[in-house]
């Protein structure tokens, strides 16, 4: 999908108007951002926004996140286990230290 974020009131207004006029291309709207369908038409809209507002428009191409494909099982399991922890106040660093869960610093260095 195409993620469009705006950085000025004018660009935000244009994005709002674009989303209103082209609802079928809009997957989700946020305050000053929107997710558009991955079509040539949506790309056309994104290019128009960029042409009109330059640096006040950011366009990124996103893809769905599949935790079963993108991430090793240990990461998923650690996340599930941490959310099930007994003491809410335990930080993950401490939670992982005693067990076989992945080290947070190591995870930060691994790209998906």
């Amino acid at each position: 999908m195409l993620l469009i974020a705006t950085y000025s009131r004018e660009a935000r207004t244009t994005l709002r108007n674009v989303c209103r006029s082209h609802e079928d291309s809009v997957v989700r709207r946020f305050g000053r951002a929107a997710l558009l369908a991955e079509t040539e038409w949506a790309a056309f809209l994104a290019c128009r926004l960029r042409a009109k507002h330059g640096a006040d428009v950011q366009v990124e191409r996103t893809r769905p996140f599949n935790e079963f494909a993108a991430v090793r099982p240990a990461v998923r399991e650690a996340a599930a286990a941490y959310e099930e922890r007994d003491a809410r106040s335990t930080p993950y660093e401490k939670f992982a230290a005693g067990a076989e869960y992945p080290d947070p610093a190591a995870m930060r260095d691994v790209e998906l």
Binding site: Y7, S8, R9, R12, G54, A55, D56, Q58
Partner: protein, 311 residues
Amino acid sequence: MRLRLDGGTYRGRAVDLRGYVASPAAALDALEGDSAGAGPLATVTPETPPLATALAAAARSRGHDHPADEARRQLRSELSRAEAAVADAEDATAALTAARRRAAEAGDNVERLRERVATLRGRLQATRGGQAHASDAETSAAADADHSRDADADADVDADGRRRGGSEKELESTFASATRALTEAETERAAAEQALARARRRARAERDARQRRLRLRDALANRRREARAALARAVYPAFADALAAVPGDADPGAEPAEFAGDPVAGQLAAVRLAERAEPVVVAVDRFDGVAEATRRLNAPVVLVGGGRDGA
């Protein structure tokens, strides 16, 4: 007031330009004085500003202040710093666009050369195979067809062994140069990707500044709205009295949100409520004459409408 128009000068608290000047803008331009013609109370036209805006201006003219004024001054100075930060980082966008284009072209180039290398490799293998089995007409024909697509190696392959040997050498050198070009293109692509990553990092810093600017602008607009609303509420009882003294059908209700009826009446009442020395240009037909308008609005008045400039 003093008003200069077509070489003539008008003076006094009441100037009637009806049948002569139609547009409020022309009258505002003709007014002399620094603050004349500024603000939401400078004119009364059928297109009124939001009531809270007019009321807040009237309240300020009556010396009302708002506790958020200091916070707004603070926000304004933060905003001007954020705006300066954005201005300093201005060229990051152009650089990012150029980096995207370069990376895309470098990627296309690699794809194109990969295909070419693969084609040439296939052709080379076919040529060598054709040499080994000279009688295999099908392979030879296939190699021919491939050759004719490529001007670099557009040599005839036939039963002549020597000619075929020369063609194979040509093909080998074409293949070698294509392989070199591919290596160079891959190097360029890696460099372009790195440049794009750098440009993205710079753009992220620039976007931080833009985001900060946007937040401050929004915060300032919110404070302004709050101040307007508070000021409008502060003078609302006096506004209701003023509304009773101007022409037009409207019910003020207990607070600005409850105002119902003729918006021009609201605007006229806001003008009457205000304590301004500057003249107001009136472009609505609500008064018997300029003297009545001046008295009802409690302000110097220029009446316009139905003039030779149209409207």
